[in-house]
Amino acid sequence: MRLTCPLCGPRDRREFYYYGHEDYLQRPGPDAGPEAWDDHLHLRDNIAGEVRDLWYHETGCAQWLVVTRNTVTHEILSTELVADRKKKGVRA
């Protein structure tokens, strides 16, 4: 499996550290109740198909990426920098 880092180019997946679903970018507000935090920290869907998750380019440029991939076909559909999402004003 190879991931295309938006900065470094196509790299082996062993250069990356897997973190989890991109839900982690949607942090609840400080006043959110315990249910929201429980959901944020622990509750995940187990998707067969397209998922978006966070990967860290550990032995490369040290950037966090959002990778869209298909867990059924193993296709990598897109990769983007979390930092770029912030620039574009996506809530992160």
């Binding site: 900065l7 470094c8 180019g9 790299r11 082996d12 062993r14 250069e15 550990e58 032995t59 490369g60 440029c61 040290a62 950037q63 920098l81 930092a83």
Partner: protein, 179 residues
């Protein structure tokens, strides 16, 4: 005041040559990380002249210094003291934190490709740089001539990096001798 002597990571290590390819320790001199603050590209370009801030996966050089891309909006200035960059970039002294190795010769590409999972043959031209693993080590790699590479690893990894590259060179030379 005591006079302190800066020592390179592999001080006293003599260069080794196998099949015409030489592994040696380099002395980078001063190294500074320059991490641009958001939106400061133009101000940085002005302050860093004559060096241009490198595009990802490349380096720029002047007579005295190199500016090597090391991450998003970040580059290492090697070989010269950084200019004043207050408000433009976060500057961190990295001198002595990195070990520098040079590998020069006809087997440099083959030896490195045993350790670095990049295609260094066609797609990694002179002037290019990469953050890439060397075995299990994080490294900065750049090509300074068609048969010459410079590698930087964390200082604590210096001897491991040397060993790994030397083993690769030795086995390639042994194969070449048999052929």
């Amino acid at each position: 005041m005591p006079e302190l002597i800066a020592k390179t990571a592999l001080l006293g290590k003599k260069p080794v040559t196998f099949a015409g390819t030489t592994l040696a320790e380099g002395d980078a001199g001063p190294v500074a990380s320059i991490a641009l603050f958001p939106g400061q590209d133009k101000a940085a370009a002005k302050a860093l002249k004559p060096l241009a801030f490198p595009a990802p996966n490349s380096f720029t050089e002047s007579e005295a210094a190199r500016l090597v891309w090391t991450g998003r909006d970040q580059a290492f200035l090697i070989g010269a003291e950084p200019p004043a960059l207050g408000g433009i970039a976060a500057v961190t002294d990295q001198s002595g934190g990195w070990a520098t190795l040079t590998l020069t010769g006809p087997m440099a590409v083959e030896a490195l490709m045993r350790l670095v999972p990049l295609d260094l043959r066609a797609t990694f031209a002179v002037g290019q740089a990469a953050r890439a693993p060397l075995g299990h080590m994080q490294s900065i790699l750049f090509r300074t001539a068609p048969d010459s590479f410079t590698l930087m690893v964390f200082r604590s990894m210096a001897r491991t990096a040397w060993h790994e590259i030397e083993v690769a060179l030795r086995s390639l030379a042994a194969r070449a001798a048999l052929a």
